[in-house]
Symmetry: C2
């Protein structure tokens, strides 16, 4: 097969776990890959809560996409924002012009959902982008700064109350990390405020936190959080969010910062396809992750409402996104190479894990169940292993080790929105 125009053009929208895996799976294929993302970096989202709680710096969990793909000569990276898909003409519209494709992989991820209350977003940021994490960090640290300036104890208590909405892994990890930094890292820094007396509330509408885990692990996590001083409220719905705090039914809780870790909404890219989607905007794909009627269009990762063979929804986890991305890339490579492509994506659930502060984690990997420090150690190894790139693997490992030993938090910076 020759060079240039004769090669199949693969356009990948999104440089997250799914998009990057799709690109890498095409490394040896006679195709031209164009990966388009509106950010210049791939983000290791599972660790983003550590940026939000000042344990890691943004550069510890994000990598320039160009760097990841610099050695893959059949791939180019463009920083642009997609704005539409013309399925008939097989073209993607972006802020950098139109791109024709022979195969399209939509991997634009998801964002937060406020269940119809988009006005809450301004007061309760979610945790999807680097900028979300630094904004949440700024709110948490600024709450302590403002409290230090307050004369009245009641005002200080209100400012040092933190509400995390949503009892999934992200919410549990955020609540634990906020309690940790308040109890252990901040106290020596303040004179008037006692950060150790900060209140942290974790609000979950359902009957238990971490519903994806076995019940015993949920119960363990709740006990561990409670021991750390987190007030866990299950079966509690948030009915209002504003600058002063949250409303829980009739109860008003004044808070210095509110973090949203509840709903998920797929990116609008799905709707451009005009395909059927579920309530969260996830595109309903066939067993081979393509859009019905368009075998050249794959939807993967959090943008897809994919199902296991048993008909159960595939969870919105990093390993699932990577598996889907790899499947799409390998399928395209097979079809371009004239080989038979698999007709069905088979999701292999590796397990669930979540940290609870810096002392414990819960792990549910098939028959393996771990809690406490052993769980934390397992969680650490898994995360460091999966981080892309040697440099960051070493840096993150050292950073953790150091923090674990000293509780020093190098990244306790408040940065303002840039002016330039």
């Amino acid at each position: 097969m020759g060079e240039g125009a004769s090669r199949a053009r693969v356009v990948i929208l999104g440089g997250g776990f799914a998009g990057l895996e799709a690109a890498k799976a095409l490394a040896a294929a006679p195709v031209e890959v164009t990966l388009i993302d509106r950010q210049n970096h791939h983000l290791f989202q599972p660790l983003l809560y550590q940026v939000a709680t000042a344990a890691l710096a943004p550069a510890d969990v994000a990598w320039p996409i160009r760097g990841v793909l610099s050695d893959q000569r059949n791939a180019r990276v463009l920083m642009a924002e997609a704005g539409g898909i013309d399925l008939a003409a097989r073209r993607v519209r972006t802020t950098a012009g139109e791109f024709a494709y022979d195969f399209l992989v939509v991997a634009t991820g998801a964002t937060h959902a406020y269940f119809g209350h988009d006005d809450w977003a301004a007061f309760a940021p979610g945790l999807k982008r680097i900028e979300d994490a630094t904004a949440i960090r700024r709110r948490i640290l600024m709450a302590f700064e403002r409290a230090e300036l307050e004369d009245e104890a009641a005002a200080r208590q209100a400012l040092t109350t933190f509400v995390v909405v949503g009892g999934g892994p992200t919410g549990v990890e955020m609540a634990g990390a906020i309690a940790d930094i308040a109890r252990h890292a901040l106290p020596p820094d303040f004179r008037r405020v006692d950060p150790a007396a900060a209140r942290v509330l974790l609000i979950e509408a359902g009957p238990r936190i971490l519903p994806a885990f076995p019940e015993a692990l949920s119960a363990y996590a709740q006990r561990a959080l409670t021991r750390m001083g987190v007030e866990v409220r299950t079966g509690t719905a948030v009915t209002g969010v504003d600058a002063a705090g949250v409303l829980l039914g009739g109860e008003r809780v004044a808070a210095g910062a509110v973090v949203w870790a509840a709903g998920v909404q797929a990116s609008p890219a799905g709707s451009w396809l005009g395909a059927a989607h579920d309530r969260a905007g996830r595109v309903e794909v066939g067993p081979d992750l393509t859009v019905p009627g368009h075998p050249e269009v794959f939807v993967v990762g959090d943008t897809a409402a994919a199902k296991t063979e048993a008909g159960r929804p595939i969870p919105g986890l990093a390993p699932a996104a990577k598996q889907m991305g790899r499947f799409a890339g390998e399928t395209i490579a097979a079809r371009v190479g004239g080989r038979s492509a698999p007709v069905r994506f088979r999701y292999r659930h590796q397990g669930d894990l979540a940290t609870i502060g810096r002392k414990a984690a819960i792990v549910s990997f098939g028959r393996l169940t771990l809690t406490g420090f052993l769980g934390w150690a397992f969680w650490s190894v898994v995360h460091v292993y999966f981080l892309i790139g040697l440099r960051n693997r070493i840096a993150v490992a050292l950073s953790w080790l150091w923090d674990y030993v000293t509780f020093g938090r190098k990244s306790r910076l408040i940065t303002e929105p840039a002016r330039g």
Copy 2:
């Protein structure tokens, strides 16, 4: 001497080199220190250019002020912005209310001066705050991103032209670092743009770059920069700056990013004192760094127009700021303790140094003159030594070592202004 109200109240405005040293010099004195800064972090400004050129992350060069002073029990830190000084009533007005003082140390630093062209600031950011550095980094990296999307070679060349205005140490270091990242770090990442062909111009209005150094070292630096591909233009005045680039007399140079490293303007805190100041706004202080007629008010660091015994201006360098801050703190401690205070601040010039890319530096330390790699090694040791805090010393040392060996730039992130 008792506790509480009987202790002298020392208010320090600014947590830079001068302000922090003043606070530390008072650690053993029977005083109550209140350090007020509008940022929560102390910044190691001499390395800020490395953040702007994506070699270091913000957290590598900034430390929470609270952390630096957490063990000093007679000091409290408040995050607030000063807005005025009432000399007669001995009170400072801030966004967090008024603070009475018995001694005041003004150490609010300096910012850039655009010589009456404040409209240039939007197009040519200077390098004083973390946010300035990340804004410049974003502009430089975005210029390459935009160039990669350009079909025309001329447009790509314009976007990958970078102009640094001002041939002092900061300008020289910025120009060298931009040339370095363009030539060595970025090329594998781009397909259409050749970053190695980027133009870097260093514009200096005076007859030579680095005028504070001996002439031979200036000449060496100019040769070294030229060898790295930097176009050095001395005796050239910038007559205009806009979104498209700069005007050098009659010549228009289209540029993807312009960096301002020329003028310095003292912070407005000086003018609140109603004292005499020079054209750059620096307060004219007496030999003991106090404001004439107000022995309880010290002005130190870049805010002061202090002079050596020989009547020469004390340069705006980190060591000078630290020496002045320490002098102010020690003088206050002596006066509070009833000991005789020195009547004259004696500046000890330790030397001048500047890096030129990652291969060379020039050092002028009294009779010691170093260039090339030896200069760079000396510069590295000095800077790592002066970085505050063990953690960051190790992290920066490892980061440099790694970068030096691999040219990997972990921090090549473009982050947007945060929304929260």
